[in-house]
Assembly symmetry: C2
Homo-oligomer: 298 residues x 2
């Protein structure tokens, strides 16, 4: 098991490479449509943990997939994640002014530009996956498009966003909150791992175990997110905290209490790492990531 | 050449079948995310000329592509068109209350739901294209995704929308207005034809001639759109007219004058039909469509 410093470095390296890939894929453009590209670049290149890209890249590396292909697919999933943040921050949605310690896209530009930048980043994700540079085999490329579309569409991320917007109808029900969070965040985290596994032709059993790992990691991620919202440091988080309380939203913490939520994090962390057993040392970075997510403060 | 009544019937039949296909692809859903599907259905099933689907279907029929496959691809391109209308109508964009004679989606639901319904329709388009039901060959499916993504993304439709939003920077320049309109509307019309040609494996020369046809048709469509905005009947159009004048936007009509614009429509119509010569009778419906678009009043 690599130490804390090592996984931190590995995460930073991957994040930097993904940023370079995004910088190439979203070019600076002169002329009237240049504003669109600027806003897309502002949102996509402005930091972030790059958790989904890391998952995709490390999964693919387990099966010796070429780095340049993994970086393209990783950039695509980050485009989807970034677009969802831009739209989520809009005044008619969560109305957030700050994200990653900077003004949100609609503040830095304007609302119309933010809507279009989100739209364009979604399309770009699929454009990038279609390119033979991402994978030589069209059957693999179409599988990647399918996994990303399914995870981010109406029966995935967008459906979860809608549930979140109408959260008052959800009720104080742990099952309903779990389902909403699974759609809103979990399925895209799972897609990152399954896309890496698909590129690596991991096989049915391997893909299944990785999927189970990603399922637990996604849930763990969300519970720590709720804990940070309640207990976290706003400066460190780079976004507005305590919003769930203010909006009286049911969360894992409000339903379970902080102690129970923390206990669940520990349990899920052990369980997630357990699913990686068949891969041995090859899965060491996916395993180390679990502890990073479980112990994160932002 | 079929008479006016016949092409009208052919258009209606195709529109009905596309609506049925969309009705199947966007299911009614119970539960908290049901609102999202309702809004997507409201926008997608609420009429429209279904011009892009018709172009895709009729192009595919020229090469004997299976009807059920064409309808899926046609529904996908209509999802993209519909999502662009929903977002275009938002208060922060064109701020339109009426579309196709009904309240726009953000009026009938709310802004957050409209943003998400647009997002979800975009994703759904790619989801539908990925499915083997759309075409058995993954290489064809990925080509469809690529064509649709490229046409609707930052270097296509979304880029055109951005140019339209910053139209005051465009200047009174016919070349700039032509380019903006080509991106905003033309490329998606061209994609409809090229997707049909791809499904039919039309071959390089055939695909090129069809593409040239679609290019002229797209431009013709936009000039008639500008003419309708100036001279049209608001009731018939089902949307707010005279907006370009009010917003002082440069259009084909403001730059050329109505007479010159009409002359250009006639010229483009003859030219578009001319490109279909090599296909003879097989292209009769694509040819008849040119006159429908040239003479439309809504």
């Amino acid at each position: 098991m690599p130490g804390g410093a090592t996984i931190t470095k590995r995460l930073e390296e991957a994040a930097d490479r993904v940023t370079v890939a995004l910088d190439t894929l979203i070019p600076r453009v002169q002329g009237p449509e240049g504003r669109l590209m600027s806003a897309m670049r502002y949102a996509a290149l402005g930091g972030g943990k790059r958790l989904r890209p890391f998952l995709l890249i490390e999964t693919g590396r387990m099966f010796d997939v070429e780095e340049r292909c993994l970086l393209r697919a990783a950039a695509a999933i980050e485009c989807i994640h970034t677009y969802s943040l831009i739209h989520d921050d809009l005044p008619c949605m969560d109305d957030d002014d700050m994200r990653r310690g900077r003004p949100t896209t609609h503040i830095a530009f304007d609302e119309a530009t933010a809507v279009l930048a989100g739209d364009g980043l979604q399309t770009l994700a699929f454009e990038v996956l279609c390119d033979p540079e991402t994978h030589a085999d069209p059957a693999i490329r179409i599988a990647l498009v399918e996994q990303l579309a399914r995870a981010s569409g109406p029966r995935g991320m967008v459906g979860g966003q809608m549930m979140d917007m109408t959260a008052d109808e959800l009720g104080d029900d742990l099952a309903a909150v779990t389902r909403m969070q699974r759609l809103k965040t979990g399925v895209l985290i799972q897609a990152a791992v399954s896309m890496g596994a698909t590129m690596g032709r991991a096989g049915d059993h391997g893909a299944h175990m990785l999927n189970t790992y990603a399922h637990d990691l996604g849930l763990l991620f969300q519970i720590t997110d709720d804990l940070i919202d309640v207990e976290g440091d706003q400066e460190l988080a780079g976004k507005t905290l305590r919003k769930d309380q203010t909006q009286n939203k049911a969360t894992f913490v409000s339903l379970l209490g902080a102690d129970q939520a923390r206990a669940r994090v520990s349990h899920l962390a052990e369980q997630a790492k357990g699913h990686l057993g068949m891969f041995g040392e090859r899965a060491r970075w996916l395993s180390a990531l679990v502890d990073v997510v479980a112990n994160r403060e932002a």
